[in-house]
């Protein structure tokens, strides 16, 4: 089951590659079909998932036997929402880019290849396999940004690739060190390896570099605005929606349970970086004149809440972290899609030029307002759940309260810059660029609707998400306490 979910998109890649030049418009149909089937399979996974059952749907056999590398997949309540998110956002990304005209074959093949890597990262339970999928993600994203991106795409693609590679090679060193110490690449078995605190501290540092670049945590975030601004809409959606989560997922899946002593030692440092990321991201978002950049910096701020929950290390904190990860994926996906849709019509992303959407394109404007309000964490929408829980978790941990207060200020800032965005873009009298544009077409609304539904669903009925996350996180904290 899991292997099918991971490698089905690869089948799509092969099918698309074999299309002849004349029939390249069929690429989007293949990609849509494959991504849809993958989403259905991921949903079946969620339906058949036993919330109290720990690691499930396990597939495990020797891969490179002499060295102890396994092909080992499994999902628990933390990875399941991520797998679902990546399958959903892939489908959304594919349908959202139906109109792509430049090299459609390569474009859709890259998105499907990206899905292989994303799903794989969230399912892999062997370190080498994890690393394989982790790096696999770099390649399609490099091409998506570099080929279909904005004017500075080559620079942005290169920066994205090198930055992330820089982080992940340190992760590789950490993996090698862990392997030589404990004699296994098995992520589950390593949780009770009984590693000495000094050793843990060093390995944590190596993993920190790998994960923190991906999240990204201040001050390792500078690749993100470039990549986001230059990336095509669908790539932005996947980048913010899924790729950033790989970093925090790494902390939760690997750093916390395998290196619990080090996690406790590093916690004040992580908390400080989290709080700084929250406020810094928010403050910089304030100053942006480009909508896409604003959303990009708001991501830095939101991912700070995830890091805050992780730094807290309490059950509430980690549950909150996972909830923010899920919600941010959905909401930021919406925001990037809407910014992209507006851009397609007005050919500008400058906030000044895009005023008064509501009178001209009420549907787009309404959805924009909805997504912005969801992003600022209004109770009743999904963003609130995670931020609330991670703040509570952080407050209850032995973290310095100053960081929690700083983070709470960040919530206010988020409300301010998001509402200001709504005020400028949605309300007011239409600007010149907006005057002639048409409202969203049915395809575009269909792309956004599932995301709206999830935002409302999770926001009103928390249990929809937390029934998966909570038991898994309690298992995790039990491991850390032991």
């Amino acid at each position: 089951m899991l292997s099918i979910i991971v490698f089905l998109p690869l089948v799509g890649v092969v099918l698309i590659a074999m299309l002849s030049k004349e029939r390249e418009s069929a690429a989007r149909l293949i990609a849509t079909a494959i991504a849809a089937v993958d989403l259905i399979l991921a949903s079946l996974l969620a339906v058949n998932f036993d919330v109290t059952g720990g690691m499930q749907f396990i597939e495990k056999f020797d891969w490179v036997s002499g060295v102890g590398i396994q092909y080992y997949l499994g999902v628990d309540g933390i990875s399941l929402p991520m797998v679902f998110l990546s399958a959903l956002l892939t489908l959304v990304a594919v349908v959202a880019s139906w109109k792509i005209e430049v090299k459609p074959k390569a474009y859709f093949a890259m998105i499907l290849l990206l899905e292989v890597g994303m799903n794989g990262v969230f399912m892999a339970l062997d370190f080498v396999l994890f690393y394989v999928f982790w790096e696999l993600v770099l390649v399609p994203m490099y091409f998506l940004i570099g080929t279909w991106g904005g004017p500075r795409r080559e620079y942005a693609a290169m920066k994205f690739f090198l930055y992330t590679l820089f982080g992940s090679v340190f992760m590789l060193v950490g993996i090698v060190a862990l392997y030589l110490q404990a004699g296994t690449f098995d992520i589950v078995a390593l949780t009770d390896a009984g590693l000495s605190p000094t050793f843990q501290w060093r390995v944590f540092g190596a993993f920190f570099l790998g994960f923190a670049v991906k999240v990204p945590v201040f001050p390792l975030h500078t690749w993100l605005p470039d990549a986001h601004v230059e990336a095509p809409t669908a790539a932005s959606v996947l980048l913010a929606g899924v790729l950033l989560k790989m970093g925090t997922y790494g902390f939760i899946r690997i750093s916390l349970p395998i290196l619990p002593d080090a996690a406790a030692q590093w916690s004040p440092f992580l908390a400080a970086l989290a709080a700084i990321s929250i406020v810094y991201g928010a403050a910089v978002a304030f100053a942006q004149t480009d909508m896409k950049k604003l959303v990009a910096y708001s991501s830095v701020s939101h991912m700070g809440f995830v890091m805050l929950g992780i730094a807290a290390g309490t059950a509430e904190g980690i549950t909150g972290a996972v909830a923010v990860m899920f919600s941010h994926g959905v909401v930021t996906g919406m925001l990037f899609l809407l910014v992209g849709m507006v851009y397609e019509r007005t050919h500008t992303r400058v906030i000044e030029d895009v005023r008064g959407l509501s009178s001209q394109v009420p549907v787009a404007a309404g959805l924009m307002a909805f997504a912005s309000i969801a992003s600022l964490g209004l109770p009743g929408l999904s963003g609130f759940v995670g931020e609330f829980l991670s703040l509570v978790g952080a407050w209850r941990s032995d973290m310095w309260p100053g960081w929690v207060i700083t983070a709470a200020v960040g919530v206010l800032l988020a409300a301010a810059y998001m509402l200001w965005l709504v005020q400028r873009v949605v309300l007011g009298s239409p600007s010149h660029a907006v005057a002639e544009i048409e409202d969203l077409e049915p395809r575009e609304i269909a792309v956004l609707l599932p995301l709206v539904a999830l935002t409302l669903g999770v926001g009103i009925y928390w249990d929809l998400l937390l029934r998966y996350v909570d038991p898994a996180v309690r298992g995790l904290t039990a491991l850390m306490g032991a």
Binding site: V67, L138, V176
Partner: protein, 456 residues
């Protein structure tokens, strides 16, 4: 002496070389020559694999252990792929049947190097392997720059051979034997150190490791690109095997050896990777990148553990595959990096193959280069070379910069040149084989590693 049949692969290569010389008289001309040669090489690879491990020959002069078998098969198979490609291209360069013969003769030497555990056998094998390479590098008689490059290559290669031979004479003087089995340098003092320095300086220069590398970029840049594809990659596999055998034999009595090797490893990794950056000619760029990769290999040799040495050979093959392929593509498209511009539009399949090769060289999974690096770094880390491993991984990030530059040119570059080469089916097959091998050596390497004895 009943073991002569063990050398069937070498006989096949020799027969291939001789028939290639006359193959141009067959219908099909130069092409049939290359096809004959490719067939001989593939047959040699199959036989070498079929024969497998065996008792040593000539009283221990030639051994047939797993490393030797793996290296012999890889050498012959890569040569087959190379000849398939060069024959299929049929660029009509004069006397290409002679080139085929020279390549095969050079590989005979390489095959013997893989098994040699005796100084005399090794020296003869090295000379047999390098002599044809001189001719291949200077193949275009009318090109002055090429002649300069090849002259440099010839003179320096001869000098290093002689330095190595000088070292061998010291070793013989100290120990009184030429076979590695009884060679023991313990208590040899300064003379022993001198012997080791001479021997390894010679070998390192042949492998183009820094600081003995300076001939490589000039020689490659002056030579026909299609010759560089062979000379800069395949013989290095044999050289690596020859070197790990010497390390194995001499390290017990020479405590300075790991230090010497780690210095060379650091110098090669840093210099190779940094110097590759500004290069505009793919041959020069790949020459420097080769220096960098040999640095990683030497890092593994410095460990002198059986796993480290086996990982070194595995890595060398994992490097040679994509590296040869990149230079092949350069030979088809033109050797300046910017001539690759627009490759993705002209030849999308080739462009994506190039991506696989380049990413393998960076060390991105699931390509062979990643797994090679994983085993190599794990071996070095467990032997205590932690700082060097960190340096090595940082350097592989640095290397991503210039490999991505090639990729960027091929995919995002403005189309400036048009490919002069027509499509040829054998050449495409050759590239496809290299793609399959580059992926396969990573994903399905389990039996191979077990065979080589890589385990931690």
């Amino acid at each position: 002496m009943s073991g002569y049949w063990l050398l069937i692969p070498e006989y096949l290569l020799l027969a291939g070389a001789l028939s290639a010389l006359f193959g141009d008289l067959l219908p099909g001309g130069e092409r049939s020559s290359a096809v004959l040669g490719a067939l001989a090489a593939f047959a040699a690879a199959a036989f070498a694999g079929f024969i497998g491990t065996a008792e040593p020959l000539f009283g221990g002069m030639l051994v047939f252990d797993p490393v030797s078998v793996f290296a012999r098969v890889s050498l012959a198979a890569l040569t087959g792929v190379y000849l398939l490609w060069s024959g299929g291209r049929g660029t009509g360069s004069e006397r290409s049947h002679e080139a085929t013969a020279l390549v095969l003769l050079s590989v005979v030497g390489g095959m013997l190097m893989c098994g040699a555990r005796d100084m005399v056998a090794l020296f003869i094998a090295i000379e047999l392997s390098t002599m044809p390479a001189y001719v291949l590098m200077g193949y275009r008689r009318d090109d002055d720059r090429g002649l300069e490059g090849t002259l440099k290559y010839f003179l320096l290669s001869m000098t290093t051979s002689l330095i190595m031979l000088y070292g061998f004479s010291f070793l013989f003087g100290i120990t009184g034997v030429t076979g590695y089995a009884e060679m023991d340098l313990t208590g040899a003092g300064v003379l022993g150190v001198l012997a080791i320095v001479f021997v390894f300086v010679g070998l390192l220069a042949k492998l183009s490791a820094a600081p003995f590398h300076y001939w490589a970029p000039d020689a490659y840049a002056g030579a026909p690109t299609s010759s560089v594809a062979f000379v800069s990659t395949v013989p290095k596999i044999a050289g690596t095997v020859a070197m790990i055998r010497l390390v194995e034999a001499l390290a017990p009595g020479a405590t300075q050896l790991p230090l010497l090797l780690s210095v060379v490893a650091v110098a090669s990794m840093v210099l190779g990777n940094l110097a590759a950056y500004p290069q505009l000619d793919l041959r020069r760029l790949m020459a420097y990148s080769g220096i960098a990769h040999i640095g990683y290999v030497i890092l593994a040799m410095a460990t002198n553990t059986s796993t480290g040495l086996a990982a070194a050979v595995f890595y060398m093959v994992a490097y040679a595959l994509p590296s040869m392929a990149v230079v092949m593509i350069a030979a088809e498209e033109g050797s300046a990096v910017e001539q690759l511009s627009g490759l993705a539009d002209r030849r999308p399949w080739t462009a994506w193959a190039l991506v696989v090769f380049l990413l393998s060289l960076v060390g991105i999974p699931p390509m062979a280069g990643f797994f090679g690096k994983l085993y190599l770094f794990t071996a070095a880390f467990s032997a205590g070379y932690r700082a060097l491993v960190v340096l090595a991984v940082l350097m592989s990030v640095v290397s991503a910069g210039y490999y991505l530059r090639i990729m960027r040119e091929a995919f995002f570059g403005e189309r400036v040149s048009t490919s002069a080469v027509g499509r040829s089916i054998p050449a495409s097959i050759a590239l496809a084989l290299l793609v399959a091998a580059t992926l396969g050596m990573g994903i399905a390497a389990s039996p191979l590693l077990g065979y080589l004895g890589v385990s931690f």
